[in-house]
Subunit: 575 residues, 2 copies
């Protein structure tokens, strides 16, 4: 892998040709059409004014094009990050909430930059697949439920199921028929267009590719239909909640406020947003890059996403990352480079400048419906079954994360999920596989005595451990070996076969020293065999080899042979 | 190892004989003499009234004798746990601080019990050797420095070096000559008796064993001398701070208060006190047990220590654990069973009932001196050098913990230490060793191509990973292999040799699926070889084997042979 001190600017520019412009331009038009309703909707989900969603779809796209390594990743506001933003800034209100959202983007951008420069990509591995799955399913459910308030016109709220439910019970009499019909109508239109849209277009004689692409334009169709219906029937005068005035014009460039207390309060959330945004974005980018035998560089991705978030913070936006749906659309539409992002940014700018009045009559219920349909694709229930069948431990991590997200909220869920993953991993590795080994008759090989018919000695206990030794598993090994050695009559030598030990840490060294001492007090010699070169080098830098009551043998066979001969013990075959 | 649903009561009673009573009785007398000044001193260190130290040395000893598995562990107040208690209860004052200390013992006892019943002993492995070493050295320094206030008679305070220093600067003019001389005198007496005590007694004709034992009675000698001097010269009337009235009589039995808010605030500290107390106690108990070819059961230890702490909570004490110095003394004095603890409890009870007036004139400066001398043995500076030489990663964990304890306080230090250990461990294991392997000419073995002169194919990339695959390392493997495969011209097959993979988790499964898909898009087939039985069983429970673009080969040789033959490629030897 390339290692560079400083990242490239416009890493894709070298192999860009003018002839690529039409393809990128066409893709940009399609992405822009998809991005307009998404930007408005996700801003609503984040609890922010609609124009912030549009602002988050201009400069961040340019910034990502400057630094990012993926050719087709489409960045902008996404559902999960919008939910995290909503949950984080809910402690503020009014203008302070807007400041907090921008600050969150700034902090997240700074963190992503830092992680990129310090090559901290491995931090993303904290989020195991099981935790991410539980988190995404739980978040998608929370998002869908939270949007019901716009469809039922019942202003319930909350960060988790219990809060939403009790809030719902307080407000349930404020039900509104009209809103419900508009919401349900939008939902049905979206679901139908998603299900049958492209098939219908194909029957109308369009090419398969065009049909598939246009089939994804459901949200903009629903938005246009809803706007026309509301305007024609003057539904806004009958109590339907609409978007109304969106301030026109481009976002003002500004630095985020320097409110240190707020920055400090937002740090943990910014860290989580950075990591989750990174993981989401990289997995989308990698799977698309693979289709064209390209690859993305995770460290460069940090910089691209970091720059995008800093740009969002400086232009009235909120945290952004690479979105799955829009990246796939961009890819399918034939985008070949981040130039698509630059063109899309121009498209959204034009929307901000001239088209915002068109969205005046857009009902909130329709936006809510687009969000619900969008996140429904995140509900990968089959992942629960797959995980259950594959690994019970991973399933526990998944389910705990999912339940905690639903019952406590997104932040508690993700933090607890990471903690549980780590704890379960430690628990699993804290009990390494230890096998008592014996000599395979007629060979020089030693095998697990429980699985093979091997020769053991009553005075020499030979054990093999199938894991590197470190702080989490050394106590278990020490205790097991000691207990086994003193529980048998006549044991005079313990040989630890180290063929599977790739490294030992300081705790393991202390554990081996302690085991050596304890065995010595019990009158038993402790030996090692088949120690790998690097481990031997490590041991030589300590006092362990001087203190060792026994020897270090090159091979287990040599150890067994020599010790048994010394003892002049008869080799008694065991099962 | 035995596995029982419920622990034994008096686990040592079966092989106890009446003839052991004299030995245990003698050891108890010696331990009692050591324990009196220690109990008074550590209560002072914890910021509690002196009698609480004595109370913590009565019922807890009986409770441990009932449940504990070590024959000679002497429980009671210890330095590090007293410091942790002091740091935790400093947010309260007066009677509330006393309640908090008892609550801390109750919580800690409950947690230890729970960990024992749920067999959570592996949690103690969170505290790696490096973190414990850094923590103990840092704590010992803080303890020694904090006690200087009693010797200099300057009432500075603080939980860390900066706090102590700034507090010192505020108070430095309150210096008191008399206290300083008493403190220095006690220190010198203690150091001399520790250094030359037993040698002197030996020269006076006592047996070596008796001399060694009596040589450890320095603290009580210093206490007696100090009391006599203060009384004779009436130093207390000249401004010397003395212990004065210690309420006589046995502790009142009572349940800890049910102050839920306080309990919640104390939980994290109680968790740390439980774990650290457990780790300390078990390592002392194990090393002593080994000398008599006995062993202790960690799960039973949890119950013993848990019971001891609950007993402390119910009888006006504070958190206790097994102490190193007093256990060694007890062992050397010939204690053979926890009966020593029962006798010691009787000894301390007699002290409480009748002897407390004797300690009226005991100067605080002398107690401070005994603490300083006691913790000085914890300053194992050589461990820093050993760790540095053995492993730089462990050294970073040690140093960070040490510095954070000194600069931020004990709790921040230990929590950060655990976090850093985990992070460094993840970082280390997130980059598993991946070797490109080739065929050893004339054999069927495959070896690292960088180390051996092996045969490789230009179309088949064979790689071996030396670690089980899980969430922290799968991304690295996926990225490395993919990058390597597409960076070379002509690669048509990638074979992952799985001989060192003992298990894979759900994240690893997803990673392998993603790698398979990415390689497939790039026109490269992905194969596995030498998959272990349990891993194969796991894979069969997923869709991976159906989706796999290539095959699973029994051996790497078979894979290489078959793929090369299919390709009809010439085997070109490489270095």
């Amino acid at each position: 892998m390339q290692t560079k001190l400083w990242p490239s600017l416009l890493p894709w520019r070298k192999d860009y040709h003018k002839s690529d412009i039409p393809a990128d331009g066409l893709a940009a038009v399609i992405v822009t059409i998809l991005l307009i309703p998404q930007s408005l909707a996700y801003a609503m989900l984040a609890g922010l004014p609609p124009q912030m969603g549009l602002y988050a779809s201009i400069l961040p796209l340019l910034a990502y094009a400057l630094f990012g390594s993926s050719r087709v990743l489409a960045v902008g506001p996404v559902a999960i990050i919008s939910l995290l933003t909503a949950s984080t800034i809910s402690q503020y209100s009014g203008n302070e909430a807007i400041q907090a959202a921008m600050m969150l983007a700034a902090l997240s951008g700074g963190m992503l930059f830092t992680m990129g420069v310090l090559k901290l990509g491995w931090l993303a591995s904290l989020l195991s697949q099981a935790v991410m799955t539980g988190f995404i399913i739980g978040s998608a459910l929370l998002i869908a439920l939270s949007q019901l308030k716009h469809i039922l016109a019942i202003p319930f709220s909350g960060h988790n199921l219990p809060e939403m439910f009790s809030s719902f019970l307080q407000h349930q009499y404020a039900f509104n028929d009209l809103t419900l019909w508009v919401g349900l109508g939008s939902l049905i239109l979206l679901i139908l267009s998603r299900r049958f849209g492209s098939a219908l277009l194909k029957q109308l004689g369009l090419s398969e590719k065009t049909s598939n692409l246009l089939g994804k334009a459901g949200p903009i169709v629903a938005v246009v239909v809803a706007i026309l219906v509301v305007r024609f029937f003057k539904l806004d005068t009958m109590g339907l909640s609409i978007v109304a005035d969106i301030p026109g014009g481009l976002p003002a460039l500004q630095l985020p406020t320097t409110h240190w207390q707020m920055a400090q309060d937002l740090l943990p959330a910014a860290f989580m947003i950075s990591l989750i945004g990174f993981v989401e974005s990289v997995s989308v980018a990698q799977s698309l890059a693979a289709k064209r035998r390209q690859r993305i560089e995770p460290d460069q991705e940090f910089l691209g996403l970091g720059a995008a978030n800093v740009a969002a913070a400086c232009s009235g936006g909120y945290p952004v990352t690479g979105g799955f749906a829009r990246s796939v659309v961009s890819f399918d539409a034939g985008a070949v480079s981040p130039m698509t992002g630059i063109f899309t940014a121009i498209g959204i700018s034009i929307t901000c400048l001239f088209l915002t009045p068109l969205f005046y009559y857009l009902p909130h219920a329709t936006l809510a419906a687009t969000i619900i349909v969008a996140v429904s694709s995140l509900l990968e229930w089959h992942a629960l079954r797959d995980t259950w069948r594959f690994s019970k431990i991973d399933f526990i991590a998944l389910l705990t994360t999912l339940l905690l997200v639903l019952l406590q909220g997104v932040e508690a869920g993700i933090f607890a999920g990471v903690g549980i993953s780590l704890a379960l991993h430690l628990w699993k590795t804290s009990r390494p596989h230890i096998a008592e080994v014996g000599l395979m008759p007629g060979t020089q090989h030693f095998r697990n005595k429980d699985r093979h018919n091997v020769i053991c000695s009553g005075a020499v206990l030979s054990a093999r451990v199938d894991e590197s030794l470190y702080f989490a598993n050394i106590r278990y090994l020490e205790d097991k070996l000691y207990a086994e050695a003193i529980s048998r009559e006549g044991i005079e030598h313990v040989v630890l076969m180290c063929s599977a030990i790739n490294s030992i840490d300081y705790s393991a060294l202390e554990g081996l020293e302690s085991l050596n001492l304890r065995l010595k007090h019990a009158g038993i010699q402790f030996h090692l065999s088949e120690v790998k070169g690097p481990v031997m080098d490590q041991l030589k830098r300590s006092r362990f080899l001087e203190d060792l009551s026994g020897q270090v043998f090159l091979s287990q066979y040599q150890a067994f042979n020599q010790l048994c001969n010394e003892l002049d013990a008869t080799l008694t075959p065991r099962i």
